[in-house]
Symmetry: C2
Subunit: 239 residues, 2 copies
C-alpha cells in the first residue's frame, strides 16, 4: 500500500470511526505523520484530496478541521469539475435536471408562502425587463434556486445547483435564437410560478418539466455547433 493510500485511509478511518467528528480539529501534520508513518508531503496530499471532496478544511496557521459533512456540501464539491465536462456529458446532466427540478417544484408548491411568491414574481418582472445577458442569467439562477430551497432538501438544492451551473455557462450566439429562447423561458417561468401560487404540485411540476425540456432542446440544437463557454470559472455553490 502506497504512502498516500496509507495517509488517505488513515484519515478517512479517523472520521469513519468517529474519533474525529464534524468541526473537530485534526492533530497537527507533524503528529499525524508520526501516527500514520508517512512523510509530511504524502500526508498533505491526502489531506488535500479530502479537502477537494469537501471532507476537510484547512486554515493556514491554525490547523485542519473536519467539515460539517453535510450532504449538500459534498455534492457541491462537484462544482469544480462539471465545468470541464464536454457537451455530451451536459446532456446527461440535463436529463437529471429533468427529473429533479420538477420534483423540487412539486415540493415547493406544497410549502411555499405568500411572501416568497411575491419575491419570485418580482424576480420575474426584473428578468422580463432585462436585456443584459449577465443579469438575466443571475436572476434566472436566483429564481430556480429559491424554488429549490423552498422544497426543503439541501442536498437536492445543491445537486440542482451543480447541474444548472453548466447549462448556465453558455450563451446563445444567434441573436434571433436568443430572443426566441428568452420568450419561451419567460413564459415557462410564469407557468411555474402559477403552479406554485396555486399550491398545485402537479402544475408546478409539469411546468418545471417543460422548462427543462426546453433547455434540453437548445442544448441539443447547439451541441454540434460552435459554442463558446462564458469563462473557465464555474460559479460556486455559496454565492
Amino acid at each position: 500500500m502506497s504512502a498516500l493510500d496509507t495517509a488517505l485511509h488513515g484519515l478517512r478511518t479517523l472520521i469513519a470511526d468517529g474519533e474525529l467528528k464534524p468541526g473537530d480539529r485534526l492533530p497537527s501534520e507533524g503528529e499525524l505523520c508520526e501516527t500514520l508513518g508517512v512523510s509530511r508531503g504524502s500526508l498533505r496530499e491526502g489531506i488535500r484530496m479530502l479537502a477537494a471532496l469537501g471532507v476537510l478544511e484547512t486554515r493556514h496557521g491554525s490547523g485542519s478541521y473536519v467539515s460539517e459533512l453535510r450532504a449538500a456540501d459534498l455534492i457541491g464539491s462537484l462544482s469544480l469539475t462539471v465545468g470541464l465536462l464536454p457537451m455530451a456529458g451536459v446532456l446527461e446532466l440535463t436529463e437529471l435536471r429533468r427529473v429533479l427540478e420538477p420534483h423540487a417544484a412539486a415540493l415547493a408548491a406544497a410549502r411555499i408562502d405568500a411572501a416568497t411568491i411575491e419575491e419570485l414574481s418580482g424576480v420575474l418582472d426584473e428578468i422580463e425587463a432585462s436585456d443584459d445577458f449577465e443579469l438575466h442569467s443571475r436572476l434566472d439562477h436566483a429564481f430556480h434556486m429559491t424554488i429549490s430551497e423552498v422544497a426543503g432538501n439541501d442536498a437536492l438544492t445543491s445537486l440542482i445547483d451543480v447541474l444548472r451551473s453548466r447549462s448556465r455557462a453558455y450563451r446563445i450566439p444567434d441573436a434571433g435564437d436568443a430572443a426566441e429562447l428568452k420568450l419561451h423561458s419567460d413564459a415557462g417561468h410564469r407557468a411555474i410560478l402559477r403552479g406554485l401560487a396555486a399550491a398545485d404540485p402537479v402544475a408546478a411540476s409539469a411546468a418545471a418539466s417543460a422548462h427543462v425540456a426546453q433547455t434540453e432542446y437548445w442544448v441539443r440544437r447547439y451541441t454540434d455547433t460552435d459554442m463558446r463557454a462564458e469563462g473557465s470559472s464555474v460559479p460556486s455553490t455559496s454565492p
Copy 2:
C-alpha cells in the same frame, strides 16, 4: 493567490481551454512546475485534488493523464465521501433516490428486452432463496444497478449507485425486523420486475417509488437507534 491555487487554476485552465483533452498526457511535473511557477510539492497537491475529483489520473513512472471526463465518473468520485455522512444526511440522499430510481425504472420499462428480464428474474430467485446478508446485499445491488443501466443514462446510474452505497452499508440488527424487511423487499422487487416485463413505465415507476419509500421507512425507524456501519470501506463504483 497561493501557490496551490496557482497550480490548481493553471491545471484546470489547461483542460477548460482545450489545450489538454480527455486521454492526453500532462507535461511532466518538472515542466509544469516551471510553466506554472510553483514548487513540485504544491503542484502535486493540485494534481491530487483534481485526481480526487476524477479529472486526472496518475500512473507511476508514466505520467498524469486527463480522464475521460465522463459525467458518471465525476459523480462516482463522491463514493469516497458519502460513507462519512451522518444519518441525517442519509435521509436527504434517500429522498433523492425516491425521485431518481422511479425515473430509472420508467426509462428501463421502455427499453428492456426479454433476455434482461429473464436475467433479473433469476437474480430475484437467488435473492429469495438466500439467507446470507452479504449475498443478499450484493444481489439486491445488482438487480437495481441492472435496471439503472438499462435506463441508458450513465450519469443517472452512477448517481443512483453512489446514493445506494450508503443505505446498503447498514444491517438491520433485529432478526424479526430483518425478516419483515426482506419479505417486503422481495415483494417490491417482484412488483418492479412485473412493471418492467409489462413494458409499463408507470407501473415500474410506482413500484420503484414504493420500494425506496420502504427503505426510507426503515432508515427513519433506525435513525435514532444504535446502528453499526458494516465497515469503514465504501464499495467503489467500479467492481
